[in-house]
Symmetry: C2
Subunit: 318 residues, 2 copies
Protein backbone atom coordinates (compact mmCIF):
# COMPACT_ATOMS: atom_id res chain seq x y z
CA UNK A 1 0.00 0.00 0.00
CA UNK A 2 1.47 3.37 -0.94
CA UNK A 3 1.52 6.39 1.31
CA UNK A 4 -1.21 8.29 -0.59
CA UNK A 5 -3.68 5.41 -0.38
CA UNK A 6 -2.95 4.94 3.31
CA UNK A 7 -3.49 8.63 4.01
CA UNK A 8 -6.74 8.62 2.02
CA UNK A 9 -7.98 5.56 3.90
CA UNK A 10 -6.96 7.12 7.18
CA UNK A 11 -8.99 10.26 6.34
CA UNK A 12 -12.03 8.19 5.49
CA UNK A 13 -11.66 6.23 8.73
CA UNK A 14 -11.29 9.37 10.78
CA UNK A 15 -14.31 10.94 9.08
CA UNK A 16 -16.34 7.81 9.79
CA UNK A 17 -15.11 7.79 13.34
CA UNK A 18 -15.97 11.44 13.73
CA UNK A 19 -19.48 10.86 12.40
CA UNK A 20 -19.99 7.91 14.73
CA UNK A 21 -18.68 9.93 17.65
CA UNK A 22 -21.02 12.82 16.90
CA UNK A 23 -23.96 10.49 16.46
CA UNK A 24 -23.24 8.67 19.70
CA UNK A 25 -23.07 11.99 21.52
CA UNK A 26 -26.31 13.12 19.91
CA UNK A 27 -28.07 9.85 20.69
CA UNK A 28 -27.14 9.94 24.35
CA UNK A 29 -29.90 10.53 26.85
CA UNK A 30 -28.89 13.48 29.04
CA UNK A 31 -29.82 13.26 32.73
CA UNK A 32 -29.08 16.57 34.48
CA UNK A 33 -28.43 16.47 38.22
CA UNK A 34 -28.83 19.70 40.23
CA UNK A 35 -27.81 19.63 43.90
CA UNK A 36 -26.65 22.01 46.64
CA UNK A 37 -22.89 22.55 46.93
CA UNK A 38 -21.03 20.93 49.84
CA UNK A 39 -21.87 23.62 52.42
CA UNK A 40 -22.03 21.18 55.35
CA UNK A 41 -21.42 17.50 56.15
CA UNK A 42 -24.63 16.05 54.76
CA UNK A 43 -24.55 18.02 51.47
CA UNK A 44 -20.86 17.10 51.19
CA UNK A 45 -22.06 13.51 51.16
CA UNK A 46 -24.70 14.35 48.53
CA UNK A 47 -22.01 15.78 46.21
CA UNK A 48 -19.75 12.76 46.78
CA UNK A 49 -22.51 10.24 46.01
CA UNK A 50 -23.76 12.18 42.97
CA UNK A 51 -20.22 12.14 41.53
CA UNK A 52 -19.94 8.41 42.23
CA UNK A 53 -23.31 7.80 40.58
CA UNK A 54 -22.20 9.78 37.52
CA UNK A 55 -19.09 7.60 37.10
CA UNK A 56 -20.89 4.32 37.77
CA UNK A 57 -23.91 5.02 35.55
CA UNK A 58 -21.85 6.32 32.62
CA UNK A 59 -19.61 3.23 32.83
CA UNK A 60 -22.62 0.90 33.01
CA UNK A 61 -24.94 2.52 30.45
CA UNK A 62 -23.12 3.95 27.39
CA UNK A 63 -26.40 5.54 26.18
CA UNK A 64 -26.67 7.78 29.27
CA UNK A 65 -24.81 11.06 29.85
CA UNK A 66 -25.01 12.52 33.37
CA UNK A 67 -24.47 16.30 33.66
CA UNK A 68 -23.88 17.35 37.28
CA UNK A 69 -24.18 20.90 38.65
CA UNK A 70 -23.73 21.98 42.26
CA UNK A 71 -25.08 25.34 43.47
CA UNK A 72 -24.18 27.27 46.64
CA UNK A 73 -27.61 28.95 47.03
CA UNK A 74 -31.23 28.75 45.87
CA UNK A 75 -30.67 31.68 43.47
CA UNK A 76 -27.61 29.95 42.02
CA UNK A 77 -29.61 26.74 41.60
CA UNK A 78 -32.30 28.63 39.65
CA UNK A 79 -29.58 29.98 37.31
CA UNK A 80 -28.04 26.51 37.01
CA UNK A 81 -31.39 25.15 35.79
CA UNK A 82 -31.54 27.89 33.14
CA UNK A 83 -28.00 27.06 31.97
CA UNK A 84 -28.67 23.32 31.90
CA UNK A 85 -31.78 23.65 29.77
CA UNK A 86 -30.49 26.43 27.48
CA UNK A 87 -27.48 24.51 26.21
CA UNK A 88 -28.94 21.04 25.59
CA UNK A 89 -31.95 18.76 25.39
CA UNK A 90 -32.47 17.27 28.83
CA UNK A 91 -34.43 14.01 29.04
CA UNK A 92 -34.53 14.07 32.84
CA UNK A 93 -33.70 16.36 35.74
CA UNK A 94 -32.78 14.93 39.14
CA UNK A 95 -32.99 17.75 41.68
CA UNK A 96 -32.42 18.11 45.40
CA UNK A 97 -33.96 21.58 45.79
CA UNK A 98 -32.22 24.16 47.98
CA UNK A 99 -35.63 25.39 49.09
CA UNK A 100 -39.10 24.29 48.03
CA UNK A 101 -40.45 27.81 47.49
CA UNK A 102 -37.76 29.23 45.22
CA UNK A 103 -37.26 26.14 43.06
CA UNK A 104 -40.88 25.11 42.39
CA UNK A 105 -41.51 27.63 39.56
CA UNK A 106 -38.20 27.03 37.74
CA UNK A 107 -38.58 23.22 37.93
CA UNK A 108 -42.14 23.56 36.62
CA UNK A 109 -40.70 25.40 33.59
CA UNK A 110 -38.20 22.60 32.95
CA UNK A 111 -41.07 20.10 33.17
CA UNK A 112 -43.08 22.12 30.63
CA UNK A 113 -40.32 21.39 28.10
CA UNK A 114 -41.10 17.67 28.38
CA UNK A 115 -38.36 16.79 30.86
CA UNK A 116 -38.86 13.91 33.33
CA UNK A 117 -38.56 15.33 36.88
CA UNK A 118 -37.06 13.41 39.82
CA UNK A 119 -37.20 15.25 43.16
CA UNK A 120 -35.06 14.14 46.11
CA UNK A 121 -35.49 14.77 49.86
CA UNK A 122 -37.14 18.21 50.05
CA UNK A 123 -40.39 18.24 48.09
CA UNK A 124 -41.53 21.06 45.80
CA UNK A 125 -44.52 23.20 46.81
CA UNK A 126 -46.58 21.48 44.10
CA UNK A 127 -46.01 17.69 44.14
CA UNK A 128 -47.84 17.36 40.78
CA UNK A 129 -44.66 18.60 39.07
CA UNK A 130 -42.56 15.58 39.99
CA UNK A 131 -42.60 12.26 38.10
CA UNK A 132 -40.52 10.48 40.75
CA UNK A 133 -40.03 11.47 44.40
CA UNK A 134 -37.29 9.87 46.52
CA UNK A 135 -37.37 10.70 50.22
CA UNK A 136 -36.13 9.42 53.55
CA UNK A 137 -38.45 8.48 56.39
CA UNK A 138 -37.82 10.76 59.37
CA UNK A 139 -40.57 9.23 61.45
CA UNK A 140 -38.78 5.86 61.09
CA UNK A 141 -35.45 7.48 62.09
CA UNK A 142 -37.02 8.51 65.42
CA UNK A 143 -39.18 5.43 65.93
CA UNK A 144 -36.51 2.81 65.14
CA UNK A 145 -34.02 4.53 67.47
CA UNK A 146 -36.62 4.73 70.24
CA UNK A 147 -37.53 1.05 69.88
CA UNK A 148 -33.89 0.04 70.15
CA UNK A 149 -33.32 2.28 73.17
CA UNK A 150 -36.48 1.13 74.95
CA UNK A 151 -35.45 -2.49 74.52
CA UNK A 152 -31.89 -1.87 75.77
CA UNK A 153 -33.14 0.07 78.81
CA UNK A 154 -35.78 -2.56 79.60
CA UNK A 155 -38.49 0.07 79.09
CA UNK A 156 -37.32 2.17 82.09
CA UNK A 157 -34.99 5.07 82.80
CA UNK A 158 -34.43 8.80 82.38
CA UNK A 159 -33.24 10.31 79.12
CA UNK A 160 -32.56 13.68 77.50
CA UNK A 161 -33.25 14.59 73.85
CA UNK A 162 -31.79 17.22 71.50
CA UNK A 163 -33.79 18.82 68.68
CA UNK A 164 -32.44 20.14 65.36
CA UNK A 165 -33.65 23.23 63.47
CA UNK A 166 -37.42 23.81 63.73
CA UNK A 167 -38.56 22.12 60.46
CA UNK A 168 -40.91 19.38 59.30
CA UNK A 169 -37.91 17.01 59.29
CA UNK A 170 -37.19 17.68 62.97
CA UNK A 171 -40.88 17.51 63.91
CA UNK A 172 -41.22 14.09 62.23
CA UNK A 173 -38.13 12.66 63.93
CA UNK A 174 -39.32 13.83 67.33
CA UNK A 175 -42.84 12.55 66.64
CA UNK A 176 -41.56 9.08 65.69
CA UNK A 177 -39.33 8.98 68.77
CA UNK A 178 -41.80 10.26 71.39
CA UNK A 179 -44.69 8.09 70.14
CA UNK A 180 -42.63 5.00 70.93
CA UNK A 181 -41.24 6.34 74.23
CA UNK A 182 -44.76 7.30 75.38
CA UNK A 183 -45.62 3.59 75.37
CA UNK A 184 -42.86 2.81 77.92
CA UNK A 185 -41.90 3.87 81.45
CA UNK A 186 -38.97 5.90 80.13
CA UNK A 187 -39.05 9.55 81.21
CA UNK A 188 -37.80 12.33 78.90
CA UNK A 189 -36.15 14.72 81.40
CA UNK A 190 -35.59 17.50 78.89
CA UNK A 191 -35.86 18.29 75.17
CA UNK A 192 -34.30 21.45 73.66
CA UNK A 193 -33.16 22.73 70.24
CA UNK A 194 -29.47 22.67 69.25
CA UNK A 195 -30.00 23.38 65.53
CA UNK A 196 -28.16 20.35 64.14
CA UNK A 197 -24.97 22.11 65.22
CA UNK A 198 -22.11 20.27 66.92
CA UNK A 199 -21.01 23.22 69.10
CA UNK A 200 -24.55 24.08 70.20
CA UNK A 201 -25.12 20.40 71.01
CA UNK A 202 -21.94 20.42 73.13
CA UNK A 203 -23.20 23.44 75.12
CA UNK A 204 -26.73 22.05 75.50
CA UNK A 205 -25.36 18.70 76.74
CA UNK A 206 -23.22 20.57 79.30
CA UNK A 207 -26.43 22.24 80.56
CA UNK A 208 -28.23 18.88 80.76
CA UNK A 209 -25.32 17.37 82.70
CA UNK A 210 -25.31 20.26 85.17
CA UNK A 211 -29.08 20.07 85.62
CA UNK A 212 -29.62 16.30 85.92
CA UNK A 213 -27.46 14.24 88.30
CA UNK A 214 -28.53 10.95 86.69
CA UNK A 215 -29.08 10.36 82.96
CA UNK A 216 -29.48 6.87 81.51
CA UNK A 217 -29.34 7.80 77.83
CA UNK A 218 -29.20 10.67 75.30
CA UNK A 219 -30.86 10.84 71.91
CA UNK A 220 -28.98 13.45 69.91
CA UNK A 221 -31.37 13.18 66.91
CA UNK A 222 -28.46 13.61 64.45
CA UNK A 223 -24.87 12.37 64.21
CA UNK A 224 -23.33 15.87 63.97
CA UNK A 225 -24.98 16.78 67.28
CA UNK A 226 -24.01 13.37 68.71
CA UNK A 227 -20.31 14.26 68.35
CA UNK A 228 -20.87 17.40 70.47
CA UNK A 229 -22.81 15.38 73.03
CA UNK A 230 -20.07 12.74 73.32
CA UNK A 231 -17.45 15.46 73.82
CA UNK A 232 -19.47 17.03 76.65
CA UNK A 233 -19.96 13.63 78.33
CA UNK A 234 -16.26 12.86 78.08
CA UNK A 235 -15.24 16.23 79.56
CA UNK A 236 -17.73 15.78 82.44
CA UNK A 237 -16.24 12.46 83.48
CA UNK A 238 -19.78 11.14 84.04
CA UNK A 239 -20.01 7.36 83.67
CA UNK A 240 -23.66 6.48 84.31
CA UNK A 241 -24.82 7.34 80.75
CA UNK A 242 -25.28 3.97 79.06
CA UNK A 243 -26.30 5.09 75.58
CA UNK A 244 -25.78 8.16 73.39
CA UNK A 245 -27.43 7.73 69.98
CA UNK A 246 -27.70 9.98 66.94
CA UNK A 247 -29.05 9.45 63.43
CA UNK A 248 -28.13 10.01 59.72
CA UNK A 249 -25.37 7.40 59.34
CA UNK A 250 -22.37 9.75 59.42
CA UNK A 251 -19.09 7.98 58.59
CA UNK A 252 -17.48 8.71 62.00
CA UNK A 253 -20.47 7.26 63.82
CA UNK A 254 -20.64 4.17 61.61
CA UNK A 255 -16.99 3.61 62.51
CA UNK A 256 -18.03 3.58 66.20
CA UNK A 257 -20.77 1.06 65.37
CA UNK A 258 -18.27 -1.13 63.49
CA UNK A 259 -15.91 -0.95 66.51
CA UNK A 260 -18.73 -2.22 68.80
CA UNK A 261 -18.72 1.02 70.78
CA UNK A 262 -20.74 0.30 73.98
CA UNK A 263 -22.29 3.81 74.23
CA UNK A 264 -23.04 4.24 70.51
CA UNK A 265 -23.69 0.70 69.23
CA UNK A 266 -26.16 1.71 66.47
CA UNK A 267 -27.13 4.53 64.12
CA UNK A 268 -30.04 5.03 61.71
CA UNK A 269 -29.54 6.15 58.13
CA UNK A 270 -30.92 9.28 56.53
CA UNK A 271 -28.31 8.83 53.88
CA UNK A 272 -27.03 11.51 51.49
CA UNK A 273 -26.56 8.54 49.14
CA UNK A 274 -30.32 8.75 48.46
CA UNK A 275 -29.26 11.03 45.55
CA UNK A 276 -27.64 7.91 44.08
CA UNK A 277 -30.87 5.92 44.37
CA UNK A 278 -32.65 8.72 42.47
CA UNK A 279 -30.01 8.80 39.70
CA UNK A 280 -29.94 4.99 39.32
CA UNK A 281 -33.75 4.86 39.12
CA UNK A 282 -33.95 7.66 36.56
CA UNK A 283 -31.30 5.88 34.48
CA UNK A 284 -33.32 2.64 34.74
CA UNK A 285 -36.31 4.46 33.23
CA UNK A 286 -34.31 5.74 30.26
CA UNK A 287 -31.94 2.81 29.69
CA UNK A 288 -34.40 -0.01 30.31
CA UNK A 289 -37.90 1.54 30.18
CA UNK A 290 -38.29 0.32 33.77
CA UNK A 291 -41.27 2.24 35.16
CA UNK A 292 -40.19 4.52 38.01
CA UNK A 293 -42.88 7.23 38.08
CA UNK A 294 -44.16 7.32 41.65
CA UNK A 295 -42.86 7.67 45.18
CA UNK A 296 -39.96 6.02 46.99
CA UNK A 297 -40.00 6.18 50.77
CA UNK A 298 -36.64 4.94 52.07
CA UNK A 299 -36.76 3.14 55.37
CA UNK A 300 -34.37 3.86 58.27
CA UNK A 301 -33.30 0.40 59.49
CA UNK A 302 -30.90 0.25 62.44
CA UNK A 303 -27.25 0.27 61.42
CA UNK A 304 -25.60 -2.46 63.52
CA UNK A 305 -22.10 -4.01 63.53
CA UNK A 306 -23.53 -6.80 61.31
CA UNK A 307 -24.72 -4.56 58.46
CA UNK A 308 -22.62 -1.41 59.01
CA UNK A 309 -20.41 -2.12 56.00
CA UNK A 310 -23.41 -1.65 53.67
CA UNK A 311 -23.79 1.93 54.93
CA UNK A 312 -20.08 2.79 55.14
CA UNK A 313 -18.28 4.93 52.53
CA UNK A 314 -14.66 5.43 53.67
CA UNK A 315 -13.94 7.95 50.86
CA UNK A 316 -17.05 10.06 51.44
CA UNK A 317 -16.74 13.29 53.44
CA UNK A 318 -19.84 12.25 55.44
Amino acid sequence: MNTITRTALLSVSLAALGATGAMAQEDKTVIAVSIPAATHGWTGGVVYHAEQAEQEIEAAFPDIDIVLKTSPSATAQVSALEDLTASQDIAALVILPFTSEELTGPVEQVKAGGTFITVVDRGLTDPAIQDLYVAGNNIAVGANTAEYLAEQLGGEGEIVVLRGIPTVIDDERIQGFTEVIDGTNIKILDIQYANWNQDEAFTLMQDYLAKYPHIDAVWANDDDMLLGVLEAIEQSGRTEIRYALGGNGMKDVIEMVMANDPVTPVSTPYPPSMIKTAIYMTAAQFHGQAPVRGTVLLDAPLITPENAEQFYFPDSPF
Copy 2:
Protein backbone atom coordinates in the same frame (compact mmCIF):
# COMPACT_ATOMS: atom_id res chain seq x y z
CA MET B 1 12.73 -16.32 23.28
CA ASN B 2 12.86 -20.14 22.87
CA THR B 3 9.87 -22.39 22.65
CA ILE B 4 10.21 -23.81 26.17
CA THR B 5 10.25 -20.39 27.79
CA ARG B 6 7.25 -19.27 25.73
CA THR B 7 5.27 -22.38 26.65
CA ALA B 8 6.15 -21.93 30.30
CA LEU B 9 5.06 -18.31 30.21
CA LEU B 10 1.87 -19.27 28.41
CA SER B 11 1.10 -21.80 31.13
CA VAL B 12 1.67 -19.24 33.83
CA SER B 13 -0.55 -16.76 31.99
CA LEU B 14 -3.33 -19.31 31.54
CA ALA B 15 -3.10 -20.31 35.18
CA ALA B 16 -3.29 -16.67 36.20
CA LEU B 17 -6.22 -16.17 33.82
CA GLY B 18 -7.97 -19.23 35.23
CA ALA B 19 -7.52 -17.99 38.75
CA THR B 20 -8.88 -14.55 37.84
CA GLY B 21 -11.82 -16.15 36.04
CA ALA B 22 -12.70 -18.29 39.02
CA MET B 23 -12.26 -15.40 41.41
CA ALA B 24 -14.47 -13.17 39.30
CA GLN B 25 -17.18 -15.84 39.30
CA GLU B 26 -16.83 -16.29 43.04
CA ASP B 27 -16.89 -12.54 43.69
CA LYS B 28 -20.09 -12.00 41.73
CA THR B 29 -23.11 -10.92 43.69
CA VAL B 30 -25.97 -13.31 42.95
CA ILE B 31 -29.46 -11.80 42.69
CA ALA B 32 -32.08 -14.54 42.43
CA VAL B 33 -35.38 -13.65 40.74
CA SER B 34 -38.42 -15.87 41.42
CA ILE B 35 -41.60 -15.18 39.41
CA PRO B 36 -44.74 -16.97 38.22
CA ALA B 37 -44.51 -18.69 34.83
CA ALA B 38 -46.32 -17.09 31.86
CA THR B 39 -49.75 -18.53 32.63
CA HIS B 40 -51.63 -15.47 31.29
CA GLY B 41 -50.96 -12.17 29.51
CA TRP B 42 -49.74 -10.12 32.46
CA THR B 43 -47.40 -12.80 33.86
CA GLY B 44 -46.16 -13.35 30.30
CA GLY B 45 -45.10 -9.71 30.43
CA VAL B 46 -43.44 -10.27 33.82
CA VAL B 47 -41.33 -13.12 32.40
CA TYR B 48 -40.37 -11.03 29.33
CA HIS B 49 -39.29 -8.02 31.40
CA ALA B 50 -37.40 -10.15 33.95
CA GLU B 51 -35.44 -11.74 31.09
CA GLN B 52 -34.71 -8.31 29.62
CA ALA B 53 -33.58 -7.03 33.01
CA GLU B 54 -31.27 -10.03 33.40
CA GLN B 55 -29.57 -9.28 30.07
CA GLU B 56 -29.35 -5.52 30.65
CA ILE B 57 -28.10 -5.71 34.24
CA GLU B 58 -25.49 -8.40 33.52
CA ALA B 59 -24.20 -6.36 30.57
CA ALA B 60 -24.08 -3.16 32.65
CA PHE B 61 -22.74 -4.50 35.95
CA PRO B 62 -20.09 -7.23 35.54
CA ASP B 63 -20.12 -7.85 39.31
CA ILE B 64 -23.79 -8.92 39.31
CA ASP B 65 -25.13 -12.35 38.32
CA ILE B 66 -28.91 -12.65 37.90
CA VAL B 67 -30.41 -16.14 38.34
CA LEU B 68 -34.00 -16.29 37.07
CA LYS B 69 -36.56 -19.01 37.91
CA THR B 70 -40.18 -19.16 36.77
CA SER B 71 -42.70 -21.38 38.56
CA PRO B 72 -46.14 -22.57 37.38
CA SER B 73 -47.67 -22.77 40.89
CA ALA B 74 -47.20 -21.62 44.48
CA THR B 75 -45.92 -25.10 45.45
CA ALA B 76 -43.43 -25.01 42.57
CA GLN B 77 -42.28 -21.54 43.67
CA VAL B 78 -41.62 -22.83 47.19
CA SER B 79 -39.46 -25.63 45.72
CA ALA B 80 -37.69 -23.13 43.45
CA LEU B 81 -36.70 -21.07 46.51
CA GLU B 82 -35.25 -24.21 48.13
CA ASP B 83 -33.24 -25.03 44.99
CA LEU B 84 -31.99 -21.46 44.60
CA THR B 85 -30.71 -21.25 48.16
CA ALA B 86 -29.36 -24.81 48.38
CA SER B 87 -26.97 -24.49 45.44
CA GLN B 88 -25.44 -21.05 46.02
CA ASP B 89 -25.01 -17.99 48.22
CA ILE B 90 -27.74 -15.53 47.32
CA ALA B 91 -27.16 -11.88 48.17
CA ALA B 92 -30.68 -10.86 47.22
CA LEU B 93 -34.00 -12.40 46.25
CA VAL B 94 -36.46 -10.52 44.06
CA ILE B 95 -39.82 -12.28 44.29
CA LEU B 96 -43.27 -11.79 42.82
CA PRO B 97 -45.12 -14.28 45.07
CA PHE B 98 -47.72 -16.59 43.56
CA THR B 99 -49.79 -16.20 46.72
CA SER B 100 -49.04 -14.29 49.90
CA GLU B 101 -50.04 -17.12 52.25
CA GLU B 102 -47.95 -19.94 50.82
CA LEU B 103 -44.78 -17.94 50.13
CA THR B 104 -44.46 -15.94 53.36
CA GLY B 105 -42.86 -18.74 55.41
CA PRO B 106 -40.38 -19.85 52.72
CA VAL B 107 -39.28 -16.25 51.99
CA GLU B 108 -38.82 -15.68 55.74
CA GLN B 109 -36.44 -18.66 55.76
CA VAL B 110 -34.41 -17.20 52.88
CA LYS B 111 -34.27 -13.88 54.77
CA ALA B 112 -32.99 -15.69 57.89
CA GLY B 113 -29.91 -16.69 55.88
CA GLY B 114 -29.01 -13.00 55.49
CA THR B 115 -30.50 -12.49 52.03
CA PHE B 116 -31.86 -9.06 51.01
CA ILE B 117 -35.56 -9.47 50.14
CA THR B 118 -37.33 -7.48 47.39
CA VAL B 119 -41.06 -8.16 47.08
CA VAL B 120 -43.02 -7.11 43.98
CA ASP B 121 -46.77 -6.50 43.48
CA ARG B 122 -48.43 -8.96 45.87
CA GLY B 123 -47.20 -8.38 49.43
CA LEU B 124 -46.30 -11.14 51.88
CA THR B 125 -48.53 -11.74 54.92
CA ASP B 126 -45.79 -10.22 57.13
CA PRO B 127 -44.40 -7.01 55.55
CA ALA B 128 -41.52 -6.98 58.11
CA ILE B 129 -39.81 -9.69 56.02
CA GLN B 130 -39.22 -7.46 52.99
CA ASP B 131 -36.34 -4.99 52.65
CA LEU B 132 -37.78 -3.38 49.52
CA TYR B 133 -41.38 -3.46 48.30
CA VAL B 134 -42.29 -2.39 44.75
CA ALA B 135 -46.01 -2.09 44.00
CA GLY B 136 -48.39 -0.47 41.58
CA ASN B 137 -51.10 1.96 42.64
CA ASN B 138 -54.51 0.50 41.85
CA ILE B 139 -56.39 3.42 43.37
CA ALA B 140 -54.58 5.69 40.90
CA VAL B 141 -55.46 3.35 38.00
CA GLY B 142 -59.16 3.89 38.80
CA ALA B 143 -58.95 7.56 39.79
CA ASN B 144 -56.82 8.73 36.84
CA THR B 145 -59.12 6.97 34.36
CA ALA B 146 -62.21 8.45 36.03
CA GLU B 147 -60.75 11.96 35.96
CA TYR B 148 -60.01 11.68 32.26
CA LEU B 149 -63.45 10.27 31.49
CA ALA B 150 -65.26 12.91 33.59
CA GLU B 151 -63.41 15.67 31.76
CA GLN B 152 -64.15 14.22 28.31
CA LEU B 153 -67.84 13.72 29.13
CA GLY B 154 -68.13 17.22 30.62
CA GLY B 155 -69.06 15.70 33.99
CA GLU B 156 -72.33 14.21 32.63
CA GLY B 157 -73.58 10.99 31.08
CA GLU B 158 -74.40 7.34 31.71
CA ILE B 159 -71.73 4.68 31.96
CA VAL B 160 -71.27 0.98 32.71
CA VAL B 161 -68.38 -0.59 34.62
CA LEU B 162 -66.84 -4.09 34.67
CA ARG B 163 -65.16 -5.59 37.74
CA GLY B 164 -62.34 -8.16 37.80
CA ILE B 165 -61.90 -11.02 40.28
CA PRO B 166 -63.02 -10.14 43.83
CA THR B 167 -59.63 -9.12 45.33
CA VAL B 168 -58.01 -6.17 47.07
CA ILE B 169 -56.64 -5.09 43.66
CA ASP B 170 -60.12 -4.94 42.15
CA ASP B 171 -61.59 -3.23 45.24
CA GLU B 172 -58.93 -0.50 45.08
CA ARG B 173 -59.43 0.16 41.36
CA ILE B 174 -63.19 0.45 41.82
CA GLN B 175 -62.73 2.65 44.91
CA GLY B 176 -60.41 5.05 43.05
CA PHE B 177 -62.82 5.19 40.10
CA THR B 178 -66.09 5.62 41.97
CA GLU B 179 -64.73 8.25 44.39
CA VAL B 180 -64.01 10.52 41.42
CA ILE B 181 -67.27 9.72 39.58
CA ASP B 182 -69.28 10.41 42.77
CA GLY B 183 -68.13 14.03 42.54
CA THR B 184 -69.71 14.45 39.06
CA ASN B 185 -73.16 14.14 37.48
CA ILE B 186 -72.13 10.93 35.73
CA LYS B 187 -74.40 7.97 36.50
CA ILE B 188 -73.04 4.42 36.77
CA LEU B 189 -75.88 2.37 35.20
CA ASP B 190 -74.42 -1.00 36.16
CA ILE B 191 -71.32 -2.62 37.67
CA GLN B 192 -70.75 -6.42 37.54
CA TYR B 193 -67.85 -8.89 37.79
CA ALA B 194 -66.28 -10.42 34.66
CA ASN B 195 -63.19 -11.87 36.40
CA TRP B 196 -60.51 -10.17 34.25
CA ASN B 197 -61.55 -12.59 31.51
CA GLN B 198 -61.98 -11.48 27.90
CA ASP B 199 -64.81 -13.92 27.09
CA GLU B 200 -66.76 -13.13 30.26
CA ALA B 201 -66.34 -9.42 29.55
CA PHE B 202 -67.73 -9.97 26.04
CA THR B 203 -70.82 -11.71 27.47
CA LEU B 204 -71.32 -9.11 30.22
CA MET B 205 -71.05 -6.26 27.71
CA GLN B 206 -73.67 -7.98 25.52
CA ASP B 207 -75.97 -8.01 28.58
CA TYR B 208 -75.32 -4.32 29.25
CA LEU B 209 -76.05 -3.45 25.60
CA ALA B 210 -79.32 -5.39 25.69
CA LYS B 211 -80.35 -3.77 28.99
CA TYR B 212 -79.41 -0.12 28.34
CA PRO B 213 -80.51 1.59 25.11
CA HIS B 214 -78.07 4.48 25.66
CA ILE B 215 -74.51 4.20 27.07
CA ASP B 216 -72.04 7.09 26.88
CA ALA B 217 -68.95 5.20 28.04
CA VAL B 218 -67.60 1.90 29.42
CA TRP B 219 -64.84 1.39 31.94
CA ALA B 220 -63.57 -2.15 31.48
CA ASN B 221 -61.15 -1.86 34.44
CA ASP B 222 -58.51 -3.95 32.61
CA ASP B 223 -57.22 -4.18 29.04
CA ASP B 224 -57.94 -7.92 28.64
CA MET B 225 -61.59 -7.23 29.49
CA LEU B 226 -61.55 -4.15 27.25
CA LEU B 227 -60.86 -6.33 24.19
CA GLY B 228 -64.01 -8.37 24.99
CA VAL B 229 -66.02 -5.17 25.49
CA LEU B 230 -64.88 -3.69 22.16
CA GLU B 231 -65.83 -6.93 20.35
CA ALA B 232 -69.34 -6.83 21.85
CA ILE B 233 -69.78 -3.17 20.90
CA GLU B 234 -68.62 -3.87 17.34
CA GLN B 235 -70.96 -6.83 16.92
CA SER B 236 -73.89 -4.78 18.26
CA GLY B 237 -73.42 -2.04 15.70
CA ARG B 238 -74.11 0.53 18.44
CA THR B 239 -72.50 3.89 17.72
CA GLU B 240 -73.44 6.14 20.66
CA ILE B 241 -70.68 4.81 22.95
CA ARG B 242 -68.04 7.54 22.92
CA TYR B 243 -65.40 5.93 25.15
CA ALA B 244 -64.35 2.42 26.13
CA LEU B 245 -61.36 2.46 28.48
CA GLY B 246 -59.40 -0.28 30.20
CA GLY B 247 -56.24 -0.28 32.27
CA ASN B 248 -52.86 -2.12 32.63
CA GLY B 249 -51.08 -0.86 29.51
CA MET B 250 -51.44 -3.99 27.36
CA LYS B 251 -49.47 -3.79 24.10
CA ASP B 252 -52.56 -4.07 21.84
CA VAL B 253 -54.28 -1.23 23.69
CA ILE B 254 -51.19 1.00 23.64
CA GLU B 255 -51.18 0.47 19.87
CA MET B 256 -54.74 1.88 19.78
CA VAL B 257 -53.59 4.88 21.85
CA MET B 258 -50.67 5.44 19.48
CA ALA B 259 -53.07 5.30 16.50
CA ASN B 260 -55.26 8.02 18.10
CA ASP B 261 -58.21 5.67 18.41
CA PRO B 262 -61.26 7.86 19.18
CA VAL B 263 -62.99 5.33 21.48
CA THR B 264 -59.85 4.20 23.34
CA PRO B 265 -57.55 7.25 23.33
CA VAL B 266 -55.82 6.46 26.66
CA SER B 267 -54.80 3.63 28.98
CA THR B 268 -53.28 3.54 32.47
CA PRO B 269 -50.30 1.38 33.33
CA TYR B 270 -50.15 -1.37 35.90
CA PRO B 271 -47.10 -2.60 34.13
CA PRO B 272 -45.60 -6.10 34.35
CA SER B 273 -42.31 -4.24 33.78
CA MET B 274 -42.42 -3.31 37.51
CA ILE B 275 -40.36 -6.51 37.95
CA LYS B 276 -37.63 -4.67 36.03
CA THR B 277 -37.78 -1.69 38.38
CA ALA B 278 -37.34 -4.09 41.31
CA ILE B 279 -34.35 -5.85 39.70
CA TYR B 280 -32.65 -2.56 38.71
CA MET B 281 -33.11 -1.16 42.23
CA THR B 282 -31.76 -4.30 43.90
CA ALA B 283 -28.75 -4.18 41.56
CA ALA B 284 -28.22 -0.50 42.47
CA GLN B 285 -28.00 -1.51 46.14
CA PHE B 286 -25.36 -4.16 45.49
CA HIS B 287 -23.39 -2.51 42.67
CA GLY B 288 -23.40 1.05 43.99
CA GLN B 289 -24.47 0.83 47.67
CA ALA B 290 -27.42 3.03 46.68
CA PRO B 291 -29.90 2.74 49.55
CA VAL B 292 -33.13 1.09 48.38
CA ARG B 293 -34.62 -0.37 51.57
CA GLY B 294 -38.14 0.97 51.75
CA THR B 295 -41.29 1.16 49.66
CA VAL B 296 -41.86 2.13 46.02
CA LEU B 297 -45.40 3.03 45.04
CA LEU B 298 -45.57 3.31 41.25
CA ASP B 299 -47.99 5.87 39.92
CA ALA B 300 -50.47 5.19 37.10
CA PRO B 301 -50.20 8.25 34.84
CA LEU B 302 -52.44 8.34 31.75
CA ILE B 303 -50.84 6.77 28.68
CA THR B 304 -51.52 9.20 25.83
CA PRO B 305 -50.36 9.38 22.19
CA GLU B 306 -47.61 11.77 23.38
CA ASN B 307 -45.99 9.41 25.89
CA ALA B 308 -47.21 6.00 24.66
CA GLU B 309 -43.79 5.04 23.29
CA GLN B 310 -42.36 5.02 26.84
CA PHE B 311 -44.84 2.29 27.80
CA TYR B 312 -44.66 0.27 24.56
CA PHE B 313 -42.68 -2.97 24.22
CA PRO B 314 -43.27 -4.39 20.72
CA ASP B 315 -41.42 -7.65 21.53
CA SER B 316 -43.25 -8.31 24.81
CA PRO B 317 -46.16 -10.78 24.82
CA PHE B 318 -48.19 -8.24 26.83
